[in-house]
Symmetry: C2
């Protein structure tokens, strides 16, 4: 594993690393923030999955997670959002291909050989991160937009692997949204029955989540029609799922929204992971 960079941050270390991924068949870059507490002993880990067009870098530089993670003694992992590189299939659209892996394992060409972000996050990268000094065995997961979709679906399908769950403005019902139908069709094929396990509203209706969930959504988000928070909110209420859904007045879809509530989410996860 190659160290791309390591910077001191709030008494801990913000690292960026590159490795040859077996799962994705290409080099993958990811970031890990290790809080100062990790020098003394293993700390819990919060996974942050990013949205469309992002790399490992966006939330690392603009999310403001480090200060809160240092305060609460959590590590934070920032994976990339897709495989990348010259040999990796791509599309001209911003919402398909590189930067838009949607946290699924593709079953169709040209995506099938590399687009395996579900397995990459759940298995390969988890193994690598778990082997790093200072990383403990309790994991929480969150994410923004496409990454909120990833966090919710990955956690609900793997409740034994995650002990806390939240999301920022998640793509909440992708089987019924243009942020979802296009990508699930391209990556998984036209059999919509295969899509349900990648739709957090449907997963919640069917399985729920073992603990409570925190969801923040900007009430002035420019993508509300695509995100469909009303579907997830209704499913949570209908199932009597413990949790909190907050419509935040005036906030949009940007990182100004994410970092305004990053502290609340880190504190939420820290309380449940300790």
């Amino acid at each position: 594993m190659e160290i791309v960079s390591e910077n001191r941050s709030f008494g801990g270390t913000q690292g960026v690393y590159r490795h040859a991924s077996e799962t994705c068949g290409c080099d993958m870059t990811f970031a890990v923030y290790l809080p100062p507490q990790a020098k003394v002993g293993p700390v819990p880990v919060l996974w942050y999955l990013s949205g469309l067009t992002c790399t490992h870098e966006n939330a690392m530089t603009k999310g403001g997670f480090q200060e809160h993670a240092a305060k609460h003694g959590l590590a934070v992992v920032f994976p990339d959002t897709s495989p990348r590189g010259e040999g990796v299939a791509n599309d001209e659209a911003y919402d398909l291909g590189q930067g838009a892996g949607f946290y699924v394992n593709a079953k169709r060409d040209p995506w099938k050989p590399h687009y395996r972000m579900y397995d990459y996050v759940v298995s390969e990268l988890r193994g690598i991160v778990s082997g790093m000094d200072g990383i403990g065995d309790r994991h929480g997961i969150t994410g923004h937009s496409m990454g909120g979709h990833g966090a919710l679906t990955i956690a609900m399908r793997n409740p034994e692997l995650y002990d806390s769950l939240s999301a920022f403005a998640p793509i909440a019902h992708p089987t019924q949204s243009d942020w979802g139908r296009k990508q699930l069709s391209a990556y998984l094929g036209d059999d919509e029955g295969c899509w349900a396990e990648h739709d957090s509203t449907l997963l919640l209706e069917e399985h729920g989540w073992k603990s409570d969930i925190l969801v923040d959504q900007g009430a002035s988000d420019q993508f509300l029609d695509l995100l469909k928070p009303e579907a997830l909110a209704a499913a949570i209420a209908k199932r009597r799922q413990p949790g909190t859904v907050r419509m935040q007045a005036g906030y949009d879809h940007s990182y100004f929204f994410v970092n305004s509530f990053a502290g609340d989410h880190v504190a939420w996860h820290a309380e449940r992971l300790k």
Copy 2:
């Protein structure tokens, strides 16, 4: 004045604005964070001057100032670092021309017509910002690297305009550094007597500052030889200037350093501006 963007952030508003600058003879872009307290009444203002290659955007997105400014009820202004545009002189080097105004008024061609960042910050932009709703009449100033140089020199030359002063890894002695001699020569000419008023170490030796100063410097900064914090630290000690100079173990020159200590600086200014 054109509104480029306005985003809700920590209950306040992060705005970006563009205007035709008389001082610089070109369009200029700047950012202002207004905390929630500004809806109730005027709040003090902290100016943050950025470093080489930066625009208004770097500290706005990576500095993490909004959370602390919202907590303490300060507005924060992020000016650009130079005039810009097709008709504006430039240089291929990253440290001269656009992105490298050095907070001086140029006296030599080709820089003279537009490179007037000293007057722009001290006068024109101050007037514009002072006219905005919610902005009070107490001003503090800080900055990073070239912007730390700007903050220190501008404040010491205009103590009647600023009531609090700090800096992150400032270019502390530009008349004796390759970050300084090249630019002061290009913008001001070869008469080094004219350079002294743009050197914070020399200004501090000569005039001091009316109150106390906070300076943070990463002890692992990759540019220590160019920044020369030892010159400023010696001048502060020699003059018995009230202040605090902190060499921060392990920190480099990046925004991971700046945002790790942004909270301390905002609190420092808030205490002195209220």
